[in-house]
C-alpha cells in the first residue's frame, strides 16, 4: 500500500498543475471566507440599531466553534478547483498511455485503481488540511475569547473530508470513463453548476426533496448552511434543525455512493481493454 502511495507521489510531486492547484486552493479558501467575514463585520460593526440586530441574528459565524461549520460551508463551493486536478490526474494517464505502461511494468489492474484512489484521498486530505488551517485561523482572529470552545463542532472536519472525497470520487469516475480531460471537465461543470442545482431546487418544491439523492447533493447535505441562517424566523429554524437531523443519514448515503463509485471503477478496469 505504501509502495503505491510512494509511486503516486513520484508522479505528482513534479506535476506543475498539482502545485498550482494547491496554491490556488490555499488562496481561494481564505479568500472566499474573508469575503464572507468582511460582509459580516460590515453588517455588524456600526452603532445603528440595524447593526445590533444583525449582530444579534448572526452571532459570530467565524468564532469558535461556529467557524468549523461556516468555513466548511463556504469552502465547499470551491470543490471545482481540486476537481480539475483530479480530472487531470486520471486523464493524463490516458493521454500519456501510462495507464498501460504501469500494468506492463508489473502493476495489477486493481493496483492501478487503488493508486488513483490514493490520489483522490491525498488531494482530499490536502484540501481538508487547508480548510482546517483557514477555519482555525478565522476562529482565533474573529474572536480570540472564543478559543476555549475550539473543540466543539469538530465533527465538521471529518464531514468536510468525506464530502470532498465523495465529490472528487464522482469527478474521478467521470474522468476515468470519459478519458478526455476537456470533455470530462465540461460535463462536470455543466452538471455540477447547472443541472444538479436546477434539479435539486425543482425537486425541493415539486418532488418531496428527492433531489437530495443526486450525486453531489447527497454529500452537500453533510454540511448544511451555517447556524445563523436558522435565526431568521421559525421556518428557518425548523428547516435548519431538519437539515442537521439528516446529516447522519447522509453520511450513510455518501459512504454507499462513494463505495459504489470505486467498486464500479475496479469492476470496469478489471475487464476492459486498456
Amino acid at each position: 500500500m505504501f509502495a503505491l502511495i510512494k509511486i503516486e507521489w513520484l508522479k505528482i510531486k513534479k506535476y506543475p498543475a498539482f502545485w498550482w492547484m494547491l496554491g490556488i486552493v490555499a488562496l481561494t479558501y481564505p479568500g472566499i471566507n474573508s469575503i464572507s467575514y468582511y460582509g459580516y463585520t460590515k453588517a455588524t460593526s456600526g452603532k445603528e440599531i440595524a447593526n445590533n440586530i444583525a449582530k444579534m441574528l448572526l452571532g459570530n459565524p467565524f468564532a469558535f466553534p461556529e467557524t468549523w461549520h461556516s468555513v466548511a460551508y463556504f469552502s465547499s463551493f470551491f470543490i471545482l478547483l481540486p476537481a480539475i486536478l483530479v480530472i487531470m490526474l486520471v486523464t493524463n494517464e490516458y493521454t500519456f498511455r501510462t495507464h498501460r505502461q504501469n500494468v506492463i511494468d508489473g502493476w495489477s489492474r486493481p493496483q492501478f485503481i487503488t493508486s488513483k484512489l490514493f490520489d483522490v484521498l491525498i488531494v482530499s486530505i490536502i484540501v481538508t488540511l487547508v480548510y482546517v488551517i483557514v477555519a482555525a485561523g478565522f476562529g482565533i482572529y474573529a474572536d480570540s475569547s472564543s478559543t476555549g470552545q475550539w473543540a466543539s463542532q469538530l465533527q465538521y472536519i471529518p464531514l468536510f473530508l468525506l464530502q470532498v472525497f465523495s465529490q472528487l470520487s464522482i469527478v474521478f469516475l467521470l474522468g476515468y470513463l470519459i478519458k478526455k480531460a476537456f470533455i470530462a471537465l465540461g460535463i462536470f461543470l455543466f452538471y455540477y453548476l447547472i443541472v444538479e442545482n436546477i434539479a435539486v431546487a425543482y425537486a425541493q418544491f415539486k418532488l418531496k426533496d428527492i433531489g437530495r439523492f443526486l450525486p453531489f447533493e447527497v454529500s452537500d447535505r453533510l454540511i448544511p448552511r451555517p447556524a445563523f441562517f436558522s435565526r431568521f424566523g421559525k421556518d428557518a429554524k425548523v428547516s435548519y434543525d431538519h437539515a442537521l437531523g439528516l446529516i447522519p443519514e447522509h453520511v450513510i448515503y455518501t459512504l454507499i455512493l462513494t463505495t459504489g463509485i470505486w467498486l464500479i471503477c475496479y469492476a470496469v478496469h478489471k475487464k476492459r481493454d486498456l
Binding site: 498511455r97 500494468v103 511494468d105 481493454d273 486498456l274
Partner: protein, 298 residues
C-alpha cells in the same frame, strides 16, 4: 526445456473484426523471436494480450510455464507500440517510476541503461522535450532496466535514424549473445532477418507459419543464372529437370528448386552442352521479404 512463452488458441475480436483467430505458438528460451505481419495483422494485439493490456476472448498463454500475472510481467522488459512516459518528468524520474513498479534495476542501473541508449546528456530533460527518436530510446532503456532475461519489443526501431537503427540492431544481437530471450514485432523484414533466430508470420489474425528462421525460409533454393543471350538461356533452362518454378528477371533467369537440390555444376554443364556460356551462376536462399510476400499476398 520449458518455453519462455506459450500461446494456446488466442482469439480476440473488436466487434465484427476478428483480430486474432486461434493463435498458438511457443517461444523457446534464448530465442530472438520475430513476429511479422502486414499492418493490421494482429501483432500488437497479440503482444498486448500477453502483457495484460487487452483481454483475449478465448485461449490462454503462459510465461515461464505460469499463467500471466503481475509477477511474471515484472520479469519482462517491454516496449509496446509507443513510448509511454509522463511528459512533465525527466528520463531519470520516469525510469524511477518504472523501477518502483517493476522492482527492476536501481539508480546506478538507470544511469547504465541511459548510457546504453545514449541519453546520459539529456537525462534531466523533460520527456516532452525529447525528439521521437529519443523517446523511443528511453522506452528501450525502460525495457533494459534491471537487465531482464526476457524482452518484448514492438517495432523497436520506430522513429530512429539509420545510425540509431543499426545501434539497436547491434544491441539486440548483443542481448541475444548474452542469452536473453527477445520477442520482437516488426514490419521491417530486413531487420528481422538480420537479428532473429525464429519467426512467426501473421496474416489477418491467423498464424501462417512459425519456427526457426532457416526452417521457415529454407523451402527453396534459387539459382540465379545469366548470359549474353538471356532469351535463349530462359528457353533452354525451361527443359532443365527438377525445378519447381522458373522466371526471367531482366537479363537474369531465376530457377527455383527444392531445398538442397541445386547443383551449380549440373546447371553449368547443361548450359555449356547447349552452347551457352554463363557469366553468372549463383545460388541464394529466398529472402525473408520474398517469403513474406509469398505468404501474405492473396
Amino acid at each position: 526445456m520449458q518455453p519462455v512463452l506459450s500461446l494456446k488458441g488466442i482469439t480476440k475480436s473488436y466487434g465484427p473484426i476478428k483480430a486474432l483467430k486461434g493463435v498458438s505458438f511457443e517461444v523457446p528460451a534464448g530465442a530472438v523471436f520475430g513476429i511479422l505481419g502486414p499492418n493490421g495483422s494482429g501483432k500488437t494485439t497479440m503482444l498486448s494480450i500477453i502483457l495484460d493490456i487487452l483481454k483475449a476472448d478465448s485461449g490462454s498463454f503462459s510465461w515461464f510455464g505460469q499463467p500471466g500475472s503481475p509477477e511474471t510481467r515484472k520479469q519482462i522488459g517491454s516496449l509496446l507500440e509507443t513510448p509511454n512516459f509522463y511528459h512533465y518528468l525527466s528520463a531519470v524520474d520516469n525510469l524511477n517510476i518504472t523501477h518502483a513498479i517493476s522492482g527492476r534495476g536501481d539508480s546506478a542501473d538507470i544511469d547504465r541503461v541511459l548510457e546504453i541508449v545514449k541519453l546520459t546528456e539529456r537525462k534531466r530533460s523533460k520527456f516532452s522535450a525529447y525528439s521521437l527518436g529519443m523517446k523511443q530510446r528511453l522506452a528501450i532503456a525502460g525495457a533494459l532496466l534491471g537487465d531482464p532475461q526476457v524482452l518484448v519489443f514492438d517495432e523497436p526501431t520506430n522513429g530512429l535514424d539509420p545510425v540509431g537503427i543499426a545501434e539497436i540492431r547491434e544491441l539486440i544481437k548483443e542481448l541475444a549473445r548474452r542469452g536473453k530471450t527477445i520477442i520482437m514485432a516488426s514490419h521491417l523484414l530486413d531487420e528481422v532477418e538480420k537479428v532473429c533466430t525464429h519467426v512467426a508470420i501473421l496474416k489477418r489474425g491467423t498464424l501462417i507459419t512459425a519456427g526457426h528462421v532457416d526452417e521457415v525460409l529454407a523451402h527453396e533454393d534459387i539459382v540465379e543464372v545469366s548470359s549474353k543471350e538471356p532469351e535463349r538461356l530462359y528457353t533452354t533452362l525451361k527443359d532443365f529437370p527438377g525445378y519447381t518454378h522458373i522466371k526471367q528477371e531482366g537479363k537474369m533467369v531465376e530457377m527455383f528448386l527444392p531445398t538442397g537440390t541445386a547443383k551449380l555444376e549440373d546447371v553449368n554443364l547443361y548450359c555449356f552442352e547447349k552452347g551457352i556460356t554463363l557469366n553468372l551462376l549463383t545460388v541464394k536462399k529466398k529472402s525473408l521479404e520474398a517469403k513474406f510476400f509469398e505468404l501474405t499476398n492473396d
